[in-house]
């Protein structure tokens, strides 16, 4: 319980730090590119409209902390997913209740797939709640599933340290592809008529499950050695 609390605290701390860094970055871009809004507004927008971008480095650092502190894999994935959903979906929930107004302006400061996925994420606020919830949790599940990759080569933890950051970039690309409907013809082919957000959700969940399965089948157990990566 103590370890879970430590991990939760770490997740929140890292997420806040990442959000602040992101807000500062977007604020600078707004100044340099002369956005038609005040600097404070751009910074504020970045603080709550880019939760996926803030959660991604948070999850990446958490993977390694969990390898030391969380020997239970199912609980670890649950924790990653829960933290991800709380920290990554709160702006959508608040926007649903009319507390926040979501704006895609801050996403313009991000790189290619970061920008398009963030815009897609903000667009989920317009969808029915079930669809939005499944879609956003699908992306967060996909990001959580990278944990196993850090332990993919049990005899060489260093390989995992290099695989996981690269894989996170790959997840963003994959999520962008899924969100963009690149695999829609496959759904039509098997006779499934799903909304685009549901298609993305299904693909993200399935891909995430695949990586989690890989973890259980191939990767080393987390926390097997105290202090080990």
């Amino acid at each position: 319980m103590k370890r879970v609390a430590a991990l939760l605290g770490k997740a929140i701390g890292l997420y806040v730090a990442a959000s602040l860094a992101l807000a500062l970055f977007v604020g600078l871009r707004a100044y340099l590119d002369a956005w038609p809004m005040s600097l404070a507004m751009a910074t504020l927008l970045a603080g709550y409209t880019l939760p996926l971008a803030a959660w991604t480095p948070t999850a990446l650092v958490l993977y390694y902390a969990m390898n030391r502190l969380m020997p239970n894999r199912p609980l670890g994935y649950l924790l990653l997913l829960a933290c991800g959903v709380v920290l990554g979906a709160w702006p959508l929930a608040l926007a649903r209740f009319g507390v926040l107004r979501l704006d895609t302006a801050a996403a313009a400061a991000l790189w290619d797939s970061g920008r398009s996925l963030s815009v897609w994420y903000l667009g989920l606020a317009e969808l029915p709640p079930i669809q939005a919830a499944l879609a956003v949790s699908g992306v967060l599940w996909l990001l959580a599933s990278g944990w196993g990759l850090t332990r993919l080569v049990g005899s060489r933890p260093l390989v995992g340290a290099f695989i996981a950051p690269g894989a996170v970039f790959g997840f963003w690309r994959l999520a962008e592809l899924y969100a963009g409907g690149a695999l829609s013809p496959a759904f039509s082919f098997v006779g499934l008529n799903l909304a685009p957000a549901m298609q993305a959700a299904a693909l993200c969940w399935l891909t995430g499950l695949g990586f989690v399965g890989l973890d259980f089948l191939v990767a080393a157990k987390p926390g097997a050695e105290a202090g080990r990566g």
Partner: protein
Amino acid sequence: MDKRRSLFVAYALGIMAAAYAAAFFWRLTQVGGADLLYSFALRWELMGALVGFAAWAPALLLVAAALGAETAEGPPDFHATAYAVLLPGFFFAAALSILFLVVQPYAEARVAFYERASVEFGERLGAARERYAEGDYRAAELYARDARAIDRDHPELERVYGLIQEALSRQADAEAERASRARPDDPPAPDWLVANRFYLEAQAAMRDGRYFDAHYLARRSLAVYGGRREVVRLIDESWAAMRSLEPTAEQRADADYYKRKLEAYDYFARDDALEALRRFSALAAERPGDKDAADFLALSARALERRGFFLEESELAFGSGGGRPLALGLGGGELRAEAAAESGSGVYLRDVSLDFGGRSYRAEHARLNGDVLQLLAVSRRDPALAWRARAADGGASPSYVELGGAEAAARRYLELSAPPRELPLLTLLGGMDDARELGIDGAGLYADLARRLSYPFACVILILMGAGLGLRFRPKSRPGAASLALWTPVMAALVRPVFDLAIESARTPLELLSRALPGGTFIGAWIAFLGAAVACSLFIAERIARHAPRP
């Protein structure tokens, strides 16, 4: 030597050698599709492999540092490890900086040269073949010589060049034979025989109505061998015939030609170089052997070049490239060109607009020559074709405008507006403030200068981070050679997206500093930023290594 240090050096050298070999092999598979000259192929592969290797070098350095720390034995002390790898790390930082600053641009330029020269060689050889087939052996030889300047030993070129030389030799022989026929080398005939031949030729000319020739030949006959009455009679008859005649067509043509020559000279004397050039050009084309026409054609061309220029020189300056846009503010005026290209004789401009002295002009072609903007372009091939500036107000436009220091400013502008990667480091360092003064967007220059200054710092950062990661993720047992060989390239490949993101993110502080600070201050500020980044990376690497497993 410290074991950790030697391991890092061994890994770094081994990985980089393997990476270069892999890059060379990759180039080897590409050479077929590159359509290169055989003589360039090996050098293209070597230089291309260097370019490929340079793109991977930072990732390889990080992986080498990580592997060195991963496989080192003893306690996972980050400071000791960092200290051990930093000394050779500085060596690698210096070597890779030289690679990026000097070797990589050179290799890129050589690769581009080999590709371009191979294409040009093919074009020249093709043109030489075409001209040869058309029987224009002189032009064919010029094209073949151009091609030989690129590759002397190309077998197909040697064959074509040999054919051209044979044809030229045959042509020269035929000309010599014609000349020798005109000047027979027989022993001098006796005077009476020579005189008789002149007499017979004079008779033939008389019969043909060529009275001038008849008179001239008969007089020569009499001069060589006097006393023949029939010759004297022929002289009288031909003289009488000449006096009774109208001028011949040939004489009329000569007189007309001479009159036109005088007119052309008159234009030349009145300093109308363009009209003189047009007229002498026509005269020289009509009678290529006329020395006066050839001499005054050259003098007219020289006189014209004080006010205008020949379009062919502009075409030569632009070559196959399109030049670069130019925008200069000069002494209260503004000069803009869609494209500008330099050559030894000036800066050539296309699609020019000039606002000067309260008037605006447009010109298709112009040249900056010293302090003068020349707005008159003439075709050397066909001087009837000339391009002049048009005034926006419809009034007369000058053929040239005095613009103080224009050529020097334009050359500096073009130098600094070149792709920053192509600029030498010293030009970048000294050109920041000039760029600002000339109104060039300096963002690219700042970015490239920052990129070049970053190399040594980035190398140190990568080594520190690699050491931290290697210590933190040390395995229970030392990894085998197969595992190293399998995973090392994967690790290097996976780390590249992270580098791309880091480079992308670094643009923001770079842009902020470049906008806020002038050239000299910017360099200091950027180096301070890089120093801070090294300090941060030291802190982060130490934090990463803190949870390293204990033996």
